[in-house]
Amino acid sequence: MADNANTSDTATRTALTEPVDERIPTVIADSVDIVYRINGTGAGRGSATAALNRILRPKQAEKASGTRIVHAVKKVSFVAYKGEAVGLIGTNGSGKSTLLKGIAGLQPVENGKIYTDGQPSLLGVNAALMGDLTGERNVYLGGLAMGMTREQIKERYQEIVDFSGINEKGDFISLPMRTYSSGMGSRLRFSIAAAKDHDVLLIDEALSTGDARFQARSAERIQEMREHAGTVFLVSHSNAAIRTTCERVLWLERGELRMDGPTEEVLEAYEEFTSGKAKK
């Protein structure tokens, strides 16, 4: 425990400027490349002759009409430590979310390796939920999808519902999720996802959902999870959210790691970069 406190302490103070050896790495990215292959984007995409050509001469036609390759993350290396909250910033399409998926092991890496301590979890339970089912059933479904047991979910059920605040305006949890407003829906999704304790937690823009009160509550919850969990990664376009949550920031641009350092330093450079772009 003493060791733990020490680690987070040094982390906040110095972040990257000095090598601190006693810290425990939780995520190591070793010159990672992530590549997307997208079918049928070429010029002759829809036409039958192009398709036939693709079948008959797969190699030749691949470039012309078939698969396009998007190199989303290029040679990114970093080491993240236990107790750290790492922000990922960059303009749209710079590869932040892709890198997050790579860390979670959900997007295969093309070259290089990502080593992790335990199973990092992406805070993204929404895909498992079904709009036609009631909020209550979705709490169970989402929890099971994340690998919780029924007992664990039952234990936390009230906590999840209270946290989401869905029932503040009436008994909405027993209505199908498709009847929820978009804010209510995302609040419930975040609450379900946040119910589990994770070793390495990856959050993609989750803080921007819900009203101000809910945002404050979720920031608090993330802080809590960070104390329990090892490491938190946060992708956000809100520099304010990054400032309050993270002490270290990775800046990605066009899939490349532009900068890696203490929050203030990186954000300053990033803000200069984005505002400079705007002036032009």
Binding site: T17, G102, L106, D117, G118, L144
Partner: protein, 325 residues
């Protein structure tokens, strides 16, 4: 995690200093300051594992077992969601198979008269339709199991075999509704309840294992070549017509003496035909054991094990590639 690890690593690490990186702000970063060896060694020293690597088969089975509640919950949720917007709601679970049977009866029983020489044609036909539909929809669902749930695959970490198995379980639940409808039909046309009806249970279990294997094979194919799902309806319809769903394979073989014996054997070894005939044997009193091919239970079990286990291993082999693209 144990804190002991942290204290036992005094070797200084090469690190990228923030200042170094900020200097190359407007140019792409040079090669990373630490080489491959350093990072890999660091990972090894702290017992870190490669993210998203395919677990070995026993570990995979263990993970799958740990997700069993998700498999059932997901299947039930899908089944419930299916008719949740309809006014009649879950009544459609029974109505849909009944309507299906009615259509096939109208076409094959009334218009085409394939019922000649088949005793109890209505239960014969309805059993065939329901049992084949179980395999057919499991395979169709399996084909889209990964490609249609790509959001789920990319968002959460779980053994991917969960999906095709869960979709098959949904179809099994659907079959149970159909069987309830079938019991009504059987009683309505005067087939007496018999202890042999219990044989329906092992038939369904074997067919479920077979279907799950097929679904996993198709899920892998469909995940990498989405075009398969366009092709499958045609293959499945052809399969249905040769499986003796609306006509009797036994009658056909005994009628055509000139038919080569291998063709007859092939028609009877068809797994769909095997499961359909076993189910008829279990439920319909006029469908005798003599109409079954030789060693039928052995064949049924063999298909289930071969496709079930083979399909599972085939699916697992590509585990880490699902969700790419």
């Amino acid at each position: 995690m144990s804190g002991a690890n942290g204290t036992t690593a005094p070797t200084p690490l090469p690190r990228v200093k923030a200042a170094d990186v900020s200097q190359v702000l407007h140019t792409p970063p040079k090669t990373p300051a630490h080489g491959h060896g350093d990072l890999a060694a660091l990972a090894e020293r702290h017992g870190l594992t490669v993210s998203g690597a395919r677990p070995p088969l026993p570990e995979y089975l263990r993970q799958l077992w740990a997700r069993r509640h998700f498999i059932t919950a997901f299947a039930t949720a899908k089944l419930t969601a299916q008719y949740s917007q309809a006014k009649l709601g879950q009544v459609w679970q029974v109505m849909t198979p009944l309507l299906n049977a009615a259509v096939y009866y109208f076409i094959f029983g009334v218009l085409l008269e394939t019922k000649k020489g088949v005793a109890d044609f209505i239960p014969f036909l309805v059993t065939g339709v329901f049992v084949f539909t179980f395999t057919q929809s499991s395979i169709m669902a399996g084909t889209r199991a990964i490609s249609g749930s790509i959001g789920l695959v990319r968002a959460l970490h779980f053994p991917r075999a969960t999906l095709p198995i869960s979709f098959c379980l949904q179809q099994l639940q659907q079959l149970l509704f159909s069987m309830a409808a079938l019991v009504l039909i059987l009683l309505a046309v005067g087939v007496p309840p018999a202890p042999s009806w219990l044989l329906a249970i092992p038939v369904m279990v074997l067919q479920f294992i077979f279907n799950a294997g097929m679904a996993m094979i198709m899920a892998r194919l469909g995940a990498h070549t989405p075009d398969i799902s366009q092709l499958m309806p045609f293959i499945l319809r052809t399969w249905m017509y040769v499986s003796g769903v609306m006509w009797s394979i036994d009658n056909l073989i005994s009628k055509h003496h000139g038919m080569p014996s291998w063709l007859g054997a092939l028609l009877r070894a068809n797994p769909a035909a095997v499961y359909i005939d076993l189910m008829r044997f279990a439920l319909i009193d006029t469908f005798h054991g003599s109409q079954l091919p030789p060693h039928v239970w052995l064949v049924a079990t063999g298909w289930a094990l071969l496709v079930g286990v083979g399909g599972f291993i085939y699916f697992w082999k590509a585990e880490e590639t699902y969700g790419r693209g």
